[in-house]
């Protein structure tokens, strides 16, 4: 069974050992005679799975006791609405940092619910950098400040997080959660779709400071209220059980890798390898500001649309898949999440060098 290197921005490549373990116990989890897919979410076996998953996330991210970890459906896109529904107050407002396509969507959903304003933006240069924030603009009426920690499409990331004082910092961390060590206590709320560094699509993880829960108006739909999840340990209704199980396996894998500190080292090594190849190249280039470069999503391109297309096509023939760039940026994009082995990046760099020799 030949496996390829999959540079998809998400859903994304998983470690082979995780897939093998899922495969092994697909018809019978731990000799129980049933698949995790078939387990009642109220069974003691599933409760152990969801509890273990939470425990591993807490341990890996060193999440303080005062935070809750929630398992929600709907993707990060539903969080774009749940965040303001739960955190915006009458007469208050939220500040959004506009660093790309996903930030813009988060902002436009918030505007439907209440007052949401732009604190800073990098749209003047096609989102190729992370803007400075003027924190003086934050005031008593600011309910939260929203950032996108990593811009999946544009290939930038926050390398340090703003100190918003008593105002909660809310982060869409969909595309780089668990890729670097963070101090969770700097955030009020972190959310992430699971389909990159946390597992598979259909599950969203929300990490929320306890004091932010329970202040919504009475008429919010039950499923959109964070308190529903905290009061019922994410078992108010049927959660995406199999997706949670895959997250458990992936977190166990990450722990075996040495945890977030170790994976951060490897992520930097992988990204540096690819950035160096782009810099050294006379054919390929990147438009992203050096200091703000993503470790996870690396857009690069040549000046020729034809060559870009040919690159993507020939790469696929070499077992390097999903390298097409997002239509809004063009060119190529290599997404190299935690589960992408360095061998995959080396294979890509080798192919880039070969391609350059042929086409320059």
């Amino acid at each position: 069974m030949g496996r390829v290197y999959n540079f998809s921005a998400g859903p994304a490549q998983l470690p082979v050992s995780v897939l093998e373990r899922a495969q092994e116990e697909l018809l019978s989890y731990q000799e129980k005679g049933m698949s995790v897919m078939e387990m009642s979410h109220r069974s003691s076996d599933f409760k152990k799975i969801i509890e273990r998953t939470e425990e591993l996330i807490r341990e890996l991210m060193e999440i303080p006791e005062t935070y809750r970890v929630l398992f929600i459906q709907g993707g990060a896109s539903l969080q774009f609405s749940m965040v303001p529904l739960n955190l915006l107050k009458d007469g208050g407002h939220a500040y959004y940092v506009n660093t790309g396509s996903w930030s813009k969507k988060a902002l436009s959903e918030a505007k439907k619910i209440g007052e949401a304003k732009i604190l800073a933006s990098s749209d003047d240069q096609n989102f190729t950098y992370i803007p400075e924030l003027d924190l003086q603009q934050i005031n008593e009426q600011t309910d939260y400040v929203h950032i996108t920690t990593n811009n999946t499409i544009e290939g930038t990331r926050f390398t340090k997080f703003p100190n918003t004082g008593h105002v909660p910092l809310v982060a869409d961390a969909s595309s780089n959660i668990l890729s670097e060590q963070w101090d969770v206590s700097k955030f009020g709320l972190i959310y992430a779709g699971a389909q990159k560094n946390l597992g598979i699509s259909g599950l969203t993880i929300v990490i929320i400071r306890e004091d932010l829960i329970g202040h919504v108006k009475a008429d919010i739909p039950t499923m959109l209220n964070y308190e529903t999840y905290t009061k019922n340990n994410s078992l108010y209704n049927t959660p995406p059980t199999f997706a949670i199980y895959i997250t458990m396996l992936l977190m166990e894998w990450l722990k075996e890798q040495g945890g977030v500190a170790a994976i951060e080292e490897r992520n930097k090594e992988k990204a540096n390898l690819l950035y160096k190849a782009i810099e050294d190249s006379k054919l390929f280039y990147s438009n992203v500001k050096r200091e703000d470069r993503s470790l996870m999503n690396i857009p690069f391109m040549t000046d020729s649309d034809e060559l870009n297309k040919l690159f993507v096509k020939e790469a696929e023939q070499e077992g390097l898949h999903q390298l097409k760039g997002h239509r809004s940026v063009g060119g190529m994009r290599a997404s190299i999440y935690n589960a992408m082995p360095i061998e995959g990046v080396k294979a890509l760099v080798d192919f880039m060098n070969e391609f350059e020799r042929k086409h320059i």
Copy 2:
């Protein structure tokens, strides 16, 4: 690998052949070198999966061209809010038929959004029957009538559907979709969590008549608007890709079984076997009105709490799992969805007979 019979109300037992197929291609779908879990939802391979899934559901349920099939996250519980958010109009109201715990939850979510009233209820007799509906109450201001086609907890089902004329009939069909042949054209909207007859948890299927889409107020969250799903073929954001794939496999299995007509026959045979055992028994009984009995969820009990407990415990030792009744009803409950083979029901009946001999 010993497999058990799993009588869970959901997530529930799947056909072994479906699990085996998923297992076989877990590391490499159709020799593509990647798992379905790792596939970009924008890839042509995944598009084929979601299109094939829709096609199979359409074919099996004979869904008219004028209906759309949507793949949504959040469970049936999120539909409790999406239905009124999308269908309730200013000055209008909805009528709910209150036939059990799930109907009550649907109603209470609707009340948060607009005017929702009870058309008929069976709460006077602990929801052990399906009430007659006085359709004269429906008027020009009625935006829809909501029923729960099968009451998972109480063990009743609608054996015929009310003719609501020009007012859309909305159905929570979570626990008996695809178990019997239905005329979809009688409904305006059918929704169902996938974790019973459609696949695994984390996916909800909505079948909606086209003319009901697109009449919401502008400020509804994008993810709660059915139009978002129809306009983007359920790919506005990342859908629960693996859950959709399992639905595809399950629908292929159902087709191989002869489709809904054939499974209906088998479901009736299975249910009759169990109901006959309960009726013939001097120990076990059921409180559900004969004409309204569910084919999918069959509650039964003895007069002794101790015996009920012992039954559940000893049954599990015989490989008959998850037979504990819901706490609101007590006793036992056997959920026998499409994927439960008749052998499972026979094993249960044999065990009931043996238990009765010992304890009467």
